[in-house]
Amino acid sequence: MTGMQLIFLIAAAVVVSSAFMSVTSRRMIHAALWFVLALLGVAVIYALLEVSFFAVVQVLVYVGAIAILIIFATMLTRRALEDHGKQFNRATLMTLVIVSVIFAGLVFSLRSWPQLQSMTAPLSADQLDVGVLGLALTAPDGFALPFEVTSILLLAALIGSIYVAYERKEKKK
């Protein structure tokens, strides 16, 4: 076993266990904190894949923004369902069975796939360059359109969620 494999295994164990904790813990804020740990583990996985840009963006966007937003929302809605009452549906056992079947199916279908064992060499300096991605994102025959569309998507999300969440002052008076 090489050092890299060891790091992968540790990171994977952290990701899986904290993801499990985050879907099962009773208090929502704990779930959110476990979620953060899982995200950090995923960032380590990205770093092992040598996609540094995504590793950092994972921390920046998920931990720095999405997780904080989730914690804010938890704080705003925390009177309901906190520490009392059942946190889960009745179908827990049933779901466990279904999910295990899906996992087994995934593993089974993967087993027959020829490229399963494929290995890869370390990336060259050219492939590590984030600028290549930038060029591809702005080239008209590349991904310029999806790139602009993402900004429209975010604009829609911003306007929509401000419209939904913002307290209308007139209504209150």
Binding site: V16, L49, A73, T77, A91, F103, Q117
Partner: protein, 104 residues
Amino acid sequence: MIPLYWYLLLAALLFCIGLFGVITRKNAVGILISIELMLNAANINLLAFWRYLYSDTGDLRGQVFVIIIFVVAAAEAAVGLAMIISAYRQKQTVVANEIDSMKG
């Protein structure tokens, strides 16, 4: 070096955990967290495939896809949480089953 299927197994496991959460959680915020976990599993898969099978070809679709998933995850979190907060303010509940004002 790490073989490709390690990443795939991890992603599959993460996806299944997320799926479990989505189905069993009552709290809408919890459901959202679970969905984010599933999106992360998809991201791991996309990047692993790109890295192992496409990084030599100069094909960047894998990375671009991941970027778009990041954006979608952010948008989803923003809108989803805003709706949860709004529903909470009107109904004092975050239980997904009880938020049913769209029902006829």
